[in-house]
């Protein structure tokens, strides 16, 4: 349930973008590296918005595949190609930067790689009450 903490962050952020207007839509990108539980996140997000008096906001959750690029040799690869035991995946779920501790470049073995995309939770779009674009992340 640590998704709850991130849902709060998304809600607070969207509310601040819309200020006095109603939050009508939030588009969230979920990087697969963090392996966020979509059900839990959307449940939490709805519950938090409702407790703030915001009903019926549209929540769109889009997966973004995690991709790495080695800073030493330039190789690129995907998190979905990596074999890793469950305990380590869970550590990365809590702190995505832990990926540098457990994953190494498949070509040269370096830990010095970049997470090109798909790290974690990002707000891609917030739409406010009157349908106007509130702000993009």
């Amino acid at each position: 349930m640590h998704e709850w903490a991130l849902a709060e962050a998304i809600a607070r952020y969207a509310e601040s973008v819309c200020s006095s207007r109603r939050v009508s839509k939030i588009v969230v990108k979920l990087g697969t590296l963090q392996a966020i539980d979509r059900e839990v996140l959307s449940f939490a997000l709805n519950a938090i918005l409702e407790s703030d008096g915001i009903r019926g906001a549209e929540i769109v959750l889009e997966d973004e595949e995690a991709v790495f690029r080695c800073r030493r040799c330039g190789a690129t690869w995907r998190y979905s190609d990596v074999e890793l035991d469950e305990a380590l995946r869970e550590a990365i779920h809590f702190l995505p930067e832990a990926v540098h501790s457990f994953v190494r470049c498949p070509r040269c073995g370096s830990r010095d790689f970049e997470v090109v995309k798909g790290r974690g939770v990002e707000v891609a779009e917030v739409v406010c009450g009157d349908g106007s674009e509130g702000g993009s992340h």
Partner: protein, 241 residues
Amino acid sequence: MDPREAVIRDRFSSVRRVVAFASSKGGVGKTCITCASALALKELGHRVGLLDLDVTNPTAHIVLGIDPKSTEIEEEKGVKPVEARGVEFMSPALFTHGEPSPLRGGEIHDAILEMLSVTRWGSLDYLLIDAPPGMSDEVLDVLRYIPRLEFVVVATPSPLSIDSARRFTKFLLDEGARVLGLVENMGSGSLESLCKSMGVRYLGYIPFDPELDRAIEEGRIESTRFYASVREICRSAFHSL
């Protein structure tokens, strides 16, 4: 703005005072002093938390006797700190399990935002932060994000350390940070004049203690003269509260 920034203030709302231990030079004793202070403040009857924010080189768990690999992480609307000798404790080591963690600036910043935004501290009198040396990303980020943050500057009396400590303290003061004071480690009082010249409170000195490393290894830092000095400093530094 990163959405995580929006909740950081809330995460510290149950904490009365947040105090970061920082230094300009490395290896001056920040981690030992932060951990000893946490245990001493607890002994003095306060509720205490400790956040290890040395993202790429966390070591506080060693002093507190926590084995990151065998420590279960509990979630409850966020990540709960683990319990370490009566102190609420959070560290990147709990997630990197003692493996190397070679992060660049942006990644360090991301890791800090993540930890600050998901950690659910209990109701605390003091949350102490162990920072890495220098004007690091960690120090710059806590300055920016943590409300009501106070600093304790740690320095040793070597000539190289003195100039460096002066520069570091000046930086903090220029940023408008609250500097609670300076602690002189492995010394005998010679940094008091530096504090006078900077208008910063001298919190006291901790003598060199040849027993410290062995006591840490044996998990009994409280039995050392080092700890007794730290406790005295805590008693007077935090006494006005």
